[in-house]
């Protein structure tokens, strides 16, 4: 986490720099830094306009001329958490990272930002902090591995990661453990266990586990561990 913070503190906040660290946009990085979830504009709007007749939602959009602003005003209505103009102005003047750090832990907050003349906004929600667990390697694609945890009797994808320092050795094993091939993707026997660590968990309802890991990495190859020992997702 300190590494991430140092990255955010240093240098120009260019899209390329954030993309290099796996973030779609600076706001996402800031939100993750603050231990919160990030929603994209599509999801925000869907949630904000839920239950409104189409004509009413369209009129709201037309009145604001901006989906982010309309969503912010509607979410304020729906969730009893009106967006403060002061906060909007604060973000414009001091930047989203400073605000993310200054904010008390809250369930939900808005970040507005003017980028190239367009206002963007994200909603952030609470999510988990750093942690680690055991996971089993289930697929290999190039130098990356798909790791999974148990849920009930099955395995559920946890995260896709570079194989790290054990890469060459793992690939050598994988060549003899292929169950199926899909182009460069190789499904392998679920028997090699790795210790995975991460910096933050962010909620993502599109994932089977319901969250994404941020700052995840392979810590070690637990050669002696069995699949039965891996975590319940």
């Amino acid at each position: 986490m300190e590494e991430l913070a140092a990255f955010l503190e240093g240098g120009a906040a260019t899209g390329a720099r954030f993309a290099a660290h796996g973030f779609a946009m600076p706001e996402q990085a800031a939100a993750v830094l603050a231990g919160r979830r990030v929603m994209g504009m599509g999801e925000i709007w869907a949630r904000a306009s839920e239950g409104l007749p189409e004509g009413v939602a369209a009129a709201c959009l037309a009145a604001c001329g901006d989906r982010a602003e309309a969503a912010a005003l509607l979410m304020g209505r729906a969730e009893g958490d009106p967006v403060g103009l002061e906060e909007v102005l604060a973000v414009r003047s001091e930047g989203v990272f400073a605000l993310a750090r200054r904010m008390e832990p809250v369930e939900r907050a808005w970040f507005f930002r003017l980028i190239s003349g367009a206002r963007r906004s994200v909603v952030v929600e609470e999510a988990g902090g750093p942690g680690e667990c055991l996971a089993v390697l289930t697929m290999v694609e190039g130098a990356q591995g798909q790791f999974a945890v148990r849920r009930g009797n099955g395995l559920v994808p946890l995260v896709k990661l570079p194989l790290g320092p054990h890469g060459a050795e793992v690939l050598a094993w994988a060549r003899g453990a292929v169950l199926e091939r899909f182009g460069p993707l190789r499904s392998v026997r679920a028997e090699q266990v790795f210790r995975i660590a991460w910096e933050a968990k962010v909620v993502n309802k599109r994932r089977k586990l319901g969250f994404d890991l941020v700052g995840a990495r392979v810590v070690d190859w637990e050669r002696g561990a069995s699949v039965d020992q891996i975590a319940e997702g």
Binding site: P53, G55, A63, C64, G65, D66, L73, L74, R77
Partner: protein
């Protein structure tokens, strides 16, 4: 036959042969309040509340006008009419029209939340409710007035500490005096002043018995309430170093906040929850939406089981 019809001149009651808030010259006009988009010149005779009469006389000059107290009933033709508080501006009213047990209420402009100046909105049970829908979208939800006025006071205090005059842009009748009355209850960092147009209306209201704080000359550190037109006149040259804020419901929208140093979302109209609450409180099964986002609000109401239409 409907008790109230839509006509080019405005809302017309055929059974009483009068218009409500007409914008074209008609023989007899019932006026909900003193704003110029409701009390226009040129009517043969005006009927309004006792609180509205001084204001429309001030604005329209020599007119033939009569006033009624809130709740007082009068037979006009085949209908009985009465005025009931709307909470919009001093003297503002909803007009109740009754014939043979059927009741229609033309709400004019209204605000459900109380303030330190206006007569509080009174829900009037009716069969058909003609509601304004200036802010009839769910994006419009107002913060409590006390919160907004405290923020205004704090902004003013910050300016006053720098010797800067604070100018708040507001309608000359209603909003301006509401701000004066609301701020008067707070710990103020300096004197209050008004643009001459605002001051003239304020004086009319004082004479009519509304409790309003003293206002003086413009001075550094003062809070001055002015109209946008006033700021475009030579009068603005007397302000010296100043910052400008606007107080309006429209300030909820970012696009409307351009050109001012500070925006305060303060409206004399009901917000979306307020409109819904007012409609529900009347018990009306039929709702007619006027002004603003009338189509969208009618659509919203239809989804909630009302017979609603936009005029």
């Amino acid at each position: 036959m409907d008790l109230i019809e839509r006509r080019p001149e405005g809302l017309y009651c055929p059974a009483g042969d009068f218009w409500i808030d007409p914008m074209r010259a008609v023989p007899r006009a019932l006026v909900t309040h003193g704003h110029s988009d409701h009390a226009a010149r040129g009517m043969g005779a005006y009927l309004c509340t006792t609180g509205t009469l001084p204001v429309i006389r001030h604005r329209l000059g020599k007119i033939t006008a009569e006033a009624m107290a809130y709740g007082e009933r009068r037979q006009i033709g085949a209908v009985t009419v009465s005025f009931h508080p709307a909470g919009h501006v001093p003297g503002s009213a909803q007009i109740r029209v009754e014939r043979g047990g059927e009741v229609w209420v033309a709400a004019g402009d209204y605000k459900v939340e109380g303030d330190a100046l206006c007569e509080a909105f009174e829900p009037v049970p009716c069969d058909t409710f003609l509601t304004e829908t200036t802010f009839g979208l769910p994006i419009f939800t107002w913060a409590p007035e006390a919160e907004v006025l405290t923020a205004m006071r704090d902004w003013w205090a910050g300016n006053a500490a720098e010797g800067v005059t604070s100018v708040v842009l507001a309608y000359s009748f209603g909003k301006a005096q509401r701000i004066l009355a609301g701020l008067a209850g707070l710990d103020l960092p300096g004197p209050l002043a008004c643009h001459p147009t605002v001051e003239a209306v304020t004086e009319v209201l004082r004479a009519a018995g509304y409790a309003l704080p003293a206002t003086g000359e413009v001075s550094p550190g003062a809070l001055v309430i002015a109209t946008p037109q006033g700021m475009a006149s030579d009068w603005a040259l007397s302000l010296g170093l100043h910052r400008v804020a606007a107080a309006s419901g429209w300030m909820a929208l970012a696009a409307r906040r351009k050109g001012v140093d500070r925006a305060f979302v303060l409206s004399d109209h009901a917000d979306f929850p307020g409109l819904n609450a007012a409609v529900e409180a009347t018990g009306a099964g039929r709702v007619i939406c006027l002004h603003g986002y009338r189509e969208a609000f009618a659509l919203w109401l239809r989804g909630r089981g009302y017979e609603a239409e936009a005029w």
